[in-house]
């Protein structure tokens, strides 16, 4: 039996106490020091070590806000002197897209590798913009498309990157035996370039090491890669990711995908064996690709294209030019650029995918989408909308305890000293996060009755969109909506 793909999870405690949501404050001047103090009976032991642990605290408030929020102490205190408050620091985490809940959930997954679980049903808004206005399907009793009886462990999350010819080619009457290069990524996720301000200390190396541990690709800027040593390839080297030089070389050769923003960059001097390289979309893209593939037909060249209103036309055009991989880049909130009403990735991907299907070239090209992938469901939903895979960026630094506070962008010191992260722990936290994401993808695929992540691509029939459900239900009853759907 072939070995199953598995991500090794190992608990990595945070270096800093995570910012908590809820805290308990008390008016001690009113305390009667009674003998049945509620602090002693906290089920979670929040107050148990209060006096002792405070000595070691770097910030008193961090300790207070680790409350689980059961309210027992507030409601049972003899004098009623306790109250519960929401940590103002918690409210400041992230932004309107990367909400505090998402940040906390990412920290939890990075620490434990576990799937976030909670009780009492869903408490969020009915629907929302972007991916919050679609639901994934599940198979009930009638399951014509289900892949037979299987367990979660039999679901394959691998996807292919590269061009798949749509037909058999002939060369002088003979069947062309050379096929386009194709690489397999074990899940529909790769790492994307981190914004420069986060690439401090061992962050870059941690991402690279995590990619290698899981066997997934990581896009990096070519200029971030150190030049090859003189004796390459006899003396491997390059990426300072650990002591095992052979492993370092493997990372560089197998899993790092250099992104060349400047066409004059000599990739052969940096990462000559990279299985995939990425170049920015530009007018002379055809010749650049030819140059990159010259003598290296097994090399995959991906084109990085900023998502804009013309993304569909440009993708079709590139597809006609023979592009293998197109990486559509959205902003950090998953929106396209340069539009009066920027569309969300959800809609752009459906548009692009639909156009490629119509043109009959969908299977010949790999679509990667990045920007605004903040949760594991975004991965599944982006694939449902038409991407082959997604590239993730900011959640990787959030896994390293980043609060997305933006202080580094303003030149201020980082509250969690990202630059002092310890390499091994940092890479394992990223592994934990992605492991948890993959397990959640398996939950979604299992519920849908889909055994192959490849088959999820463009499977909008396995999802439900807010506007469709509204139209079919309330639109039919109540007629016209007052406002257009704002996805």
């Amino acid at each position: 039996m072939p070995e199953k793909y598995h991500i090794e999870i190992k608990r990595v405690p945070p270096r800093y106490r995570p910012v908590g949501k809820l805290g308990i404050v008390d008016w001690r001047e009113d305390c009667s020091s009674c003998h049945n103090c509620v602090k002693r009976s906290c089920v979670y032991g929040l107050f148990r070590d209060e006096a002792d642990s405070l000595h070691d605290e770097t910030g008193y408030l961090d300790y207070i806000y680790q409350c689980k929020g059961c309210l027992n102490c507030v409601q049972n205190c003899t004098k009623g002197i306790l109250t519960r408050v929401v940590n103002p620091e918690y409210k400041r985490l992230g932004d309107s897209y990367y909400t505090p809940d998402i940040i906390l959930s990412t920290w939890y997954q990075a620490e434990t590798g576990g799937i976030p679980v909670s009780g009492a049903g869903y408490g969020g808004p009915f629907s929302g913009p972007g991916f919050n206005s679609m639901w994934t399907d599940m198979s009930e009793i009638v399951r014509p498309t289900r892949d037979g009886i299987h367990g979660r462990e039999y679901i394959n999350t691998s996807v292919d990157i590269g061009r798949k010819p749509g037909h058999v080619a002939f060369n002088q009457g003979e069947v062309e035996i050379f096929t386009s290069p194709l690489i397999e990524n074990p899940m529909p996720l790769i790492f994307d370039i981190l914004p420069e301000r986060y690439q401090r200390g061992p962050v870059f190396a941690a991402v690279a090491q995590a990619a290698a541990k899981m066997g997934i690709f990581a896009v990096v800027r070519a200029e971030d890669l150190p030049p090859l040593p003189k004796h390459y390839p006899s003396v491997p080297g390059g990426i300072a990711v650990g002591k095992d030089e052979a492993a370092e070389h493997e990372i560089a050769r197998n899993y790092l995908t250099p992104f060349i923003s400047d066409p004059r960059t000599n990739i052969e001097a940096i990462c000559p064996d990279a299985a995939m390289v990425m170049v920015a979309d530009q007018p002379e893209i055809g010749s650049i690709i030819d140059a990159l593939k010259h003598g290296k037909p097994e090399r995959i060249v991906a084109i990085r294209l900023n998502a804009a209103p013309n993304a569909t036309e440009r993708t079709l055009e590139l597809s006609r030019l023979g592009a293998e991989v197109i990486h559509l880049v959205f902003n950090s909130h998953g929106r396209e650029a340069g539009a009066a009403k920027p569309r969300h990735m959800r809609d752009v991907l459906r548009d692009v995918h639909g156009a490629l299907v119509k043109a009959g070239t969908r299977d010949e090209i790999t679509l990667i989408a990045s920007g605004g992938i903040a949760l594991p469901e975004h991965m599944a939903k982006a694939v449902i909308c038409g991407a082959d895979l997604i590239a993730v960026d900011l959640p990787l630094v959030v896994a390293l305890e980043c609060r997305l506070c933006g202080e580094c962008g303003r030149g201020e010191p980082c509250p969690v000293r990202l630059e002092n992260t310890e390499l091994e722990g940092a890479s394992q936290r990223i592994v934990n996060l992605i492991g948890a994401w993959r397990n959640q993808l398996l939950e979604l695929l299992g519920a849908m009755g889909i055994r192959e992540a490849r088959r999820l691509r463009g499977e909008t029939g396995r999802s439900m969109f807010f506007e469709d459900l509204e139209e079919a239900t309330f639109g039919r009853i109540f007629g016209k909506r007052k406002e257009e759907y704002g996805a």
Binding site: V43, Y44, K68, G69, C70, L71, N72, V74, Q75, N76, C77, T78, G80, T83, R84, V86, S105, I115, P116, V117, S118, G119, A120, G121, Y122, G123, G124, P125, F126, S127, W135, T136, D137, M138, S139, E140, I141, V142, R143, I149, P376, E377, A380, Q440, E443, G446, A447, M448, M464, L469, A472, T473, F474, G475, I477, F478, G479, R481, K482, E483
Partner: protein, 516 residues
């Protein structure tokens, strides 16, 4: 009625000096059931400072029993501020703050209150449920007790009430009965319940047995049903067997011939709204010796109900399941609990064709037990969309009047009940609202460590003690009473003489996002 004899109880139980059967007789009478915590959280915080001279003026003016001075006390009690409805409490005359000659009182918004709840259950909805559970009465307008703040679905639907109801309609004549067996030429009992809802399945192992028994007791009191969930059928349920649905889930925990035989309704759980397509998972910590014995499992191990039924891949297979139950208990009505996938209409028709009496659709936003966040938020559609589609599909197929459609998954208030029925359901199943009535604050930590810190979703021997059956039962009786009263009020204002007449009346609804 299904014949349950005393002998059916394997061991005659004595509870508080009464036999289990005598104890099971519960009244519908509303009696105040005060919160079980010393400091209930209310919308306002009332503070009395040391300037108080115990003149009793506040006790005199307060109409909401915030200020009390029991007989023989010199000082008033600490203000019961959770009852306070705010500084605008009196239409005429001064409020307590204004009446206090010493200026010793202050009323302000309670900061802890704002930390409660979420979009679906905002603080007001929690507080109004607590109010109904305590008093059996509808809360006054200071709490938004009709809708949540989720921004869609039930929270955007409103009723269009006529200017005045028909003059010959009296509230006391309005029927809230729900017929559960609609199949014509079916020899099985035409079970009717007195309210158009019943209690959802919560398994022994996930939830405090005392809460479960209280659910069974209120079901008996209100002539409706509760459900065993998938964790087996404890002996303590037997006195309530006429009001207890036996659930058969994929794990088949505790499913035995006798538990099928004694049930008036048997429910197959194909999926559940909180984790559609994922199955159930009882964490090892909750698997105590009692739970393990009931589930015939090893103590401390995690127990899984896999998804799906691996014996069911078609409606024919589903029929085979129902036939199996009918063979064991030909009297029982058959129900299928399903989630809300894309093809929920087809599923519902299939459930009918296989011979079921009830199709129970569990929408994606509900659920009481712990579930992966990714599933709760993303898998399957909200119940609001499923109800009307299924109703119309069954109508088009000409079988709507042959099957009872039950909706669940996000039914929080009697207003939601009425809206679900107006969209096309016959009745609903409730779960979270019952737990909120037992002082659940929806902190969502049902799964952590020893289980729920508030003693509701736990099997921890110490935490179990936080609930008493008497108190829990009374809270639920009160809640049911208030809900029924509100529902009757809605029907009265709509000019309908029964809840059955509301079914599918989408013409009585309006949606805030639509022009009509």
């Amino acid at each position: 009625m299904c014949a349950i004899a005393r002998e059916d109880i394997t061991q005659e139980q004595e509870i508080e000096g009464q036999s289990a059967f005598d104890y099971a007789a519960v009244s519908r009478e509303v009696r105040r059931a005060a919160p079980r915590y010393r400091n209930p959280v209310g919308k306002f915080s009332v503070h009395r400072d040391s300037k108080c001279i115990a003149c009793g003026k506040c006790v005199e003016v307060c109409e909401h029993d915030v200020h009390l001075r029991p007989q023989g006390y010199r000082m008033p009690l600490r203000p019961l501020d959770y009852r306070c409805i705010g500084p605008d409490c009196t239409e005429s005359g001064p409020n307590c703050v204004e009446a206090c000659p010493q200026g010793a009182l202050s009323v302000r918004a309670n900061p802890a209150y704002e930390t409660l709840g979420d979009c679906r259950w905002p603080p007001d909805l929690l507080a109004s449920t607590w109010h109904m559970a305590e008093t059996g009465m509808q809360p006054s307008a200071f709490l938004e007790s009709e809708t949540g703040a989720s921004g869609g679905g039930f929270d955007k639907l409103r009723f269009c009430f006529p200017d005045s109801p028909p003059s010959d309609l009296r509230p006391e004549d309005i029927s809230t009965e729900l017929l559960l067996n609609r199949r014509k030429n079916d020899p099985r009992e035409k079970i009717k319940i007195d309210v158009p809802w019943y209690g959802g399945g919560m398994s022994f192992g996930s939830t405090n047995l005392r809460a479960l028994i209280s659910k069974a007791r209120v079901a008996k009191a209100w002539n409706t049903f509760s459900c065993t969930g998938e964790g087996g059928y404890p002996d303590r349920f037997v006195p309530y067997a006429d009001h207890m649905i036996t659930q058969v889930a994929t794990g088949l925990f505790g499913v035995r011939e006798e538990t099928i035989s004694r049930a008036r309704i048997v429910e197959f759980k194909y999926a559940q709204g909180a984790k559609p397509g994922l199955g159930g998972h009882l964490l090892g910590d909750k698997n105590t010796p009692d739970v393990a014995a009931m589930r015939e499992a090893v103590v401390g191990t995690s127990l899984f109900s896999p998804f799906p039924f691996h014996s069911v891949y078609s409606i024919e297979d589903h029929k085979k399941h129902l036939d199996w139950i009918a063979h064991v208990n030909p009297r029982a009505l058959l129900s299928a609990k399903v989630s809300t996938p894309n093809d929920v209409e087809m599923v519902a028709v299939g459930v009918y064709c296989a011979g079921a009496h009830i199709v129970h659709m569990d929408g994606s936003y509900g659920g009481t037990g712990a579930a992966p966040d990714v599933a709760k938020k993303n898998i399957a559609m909200p119940i609001e969309y499923a109800i009307n589609g299924v109703h119309n599909f069954l109508m088009d197929e000409g079988v709507r009047d042959e099957i009872t459609v039950i909706a669940s998954g996000g039914i929080r208030t009697p207003w939601d009940v009425a809206k679900a029925i107006a969209l096309g359901a016959d009745g609903v199943v409730i779960g979270t609202a019952e737990l909120v009535a037992l002082d659940c604050i929806r902190c969502g930590r049902c799964e952590s460590g020893r289980g729920c810190a508030r003693g509701i979703a736990t099997t921890d021997s110490e935490l179990l003690e936080m609930l008493t059956i008497e108190w829990s039962t009374q809270r639920l009786v009160n809640l049911y009473s208030a809900w029924r009263e509100i529902l009757v009020g809605i029907l009265y204002r709509l000019g309908l003489d029964s809840v059955a007449a509301l079914r599918g009346r989408t013409d009585l609804l309006t949606h805030l996002d639509y022009e009509k």
